[in-house]
Symmetry: C2
Subunit: 132 residues, 2 copies
């Protein structure tokens, strides 16, 4: 079955719903706390749901923050590369949608004799709302 058509289990859907409602990325134990009323009782249940959601591209991990966010793109089914814009003022994170980043990075990598496969880019700065 194609990844994009994957049917989610209860736990997976519960975690995804929460992340989609959240304005900021959430940490695993925050997710645990917020989903206890939905029957999720242990960290492993959260991490397992996250693992699957990340695998099918519905969720991304922001490595430098140990936090997780729902993918903003419709029907995203890639778990490969990620590019974030992280506001240092309000902690909101958005995704940089730049189709040519991979080819740009592939070119840069090649100059260092390195074969590009995927990337994680975390840009820090100030978002639109916070510059006002």
């Amino acid at each position: 079955m194609a990844l994009s058509a994957e049917k989610l289990t209860n736990n997976q859907q519960t975690v995804l719903d929460l992340l989609e409602k959240s304005k900021e990325p959430l940490k695993a134990y925050a997710i645990l706390y917020d989903t206890q009323k939905k029957g999720i009782k242990a960290p492993l249940q959260v991490y397992r749901a996250l693992d699957k959601l990340i695998e099918i591209g519905k969720v991304h991990k922001i490595e430098s923050r140990n936090s997780y966010m729902a993918c903003e793109h419709k029907n995203c089914n890639s778990s490969t590369s990620t590019s974030f814009l992280i506001c240092e003022t309000c902690d909101q994170v958005s995704e940089l949608t730049q189709k040519n980043l991979p080819s740009y990075f592939a070119k840069q990598s090649e100059q260092a004799d390195f074969k590009y496969a995927k990337h994680n880019l975390e840009i820090y700065g100030v978002c639109k709302d916070c510059t006002k």
Copy 2:
């Protein structure tokens, strides 16, 4: 006193020496284990040394691996942006030295109404040695 001329303390020098000798990035508790003979006894001593070394730009953290490496550049005294090439085969990490990355990212960010300050880039792939 200028950062680049900063004199390191014993613990800081011990941790930096170890990282400079290492071929791969090291994890904090690996650093702790390897420096016990030099008098470092507790995690906090490692983390405090790392914090300082990162601050003065001598060490970088690879976020997605929770590991630390000595900066490869001479007299690096910037703790702002980082760009890594991470080999998925042998786990060696090198730094991408690309002067124009910040301006490139600044431009990309601007298109999303985001004010660029700094970045962390982690490129995954296969290094020169491992493609042979």
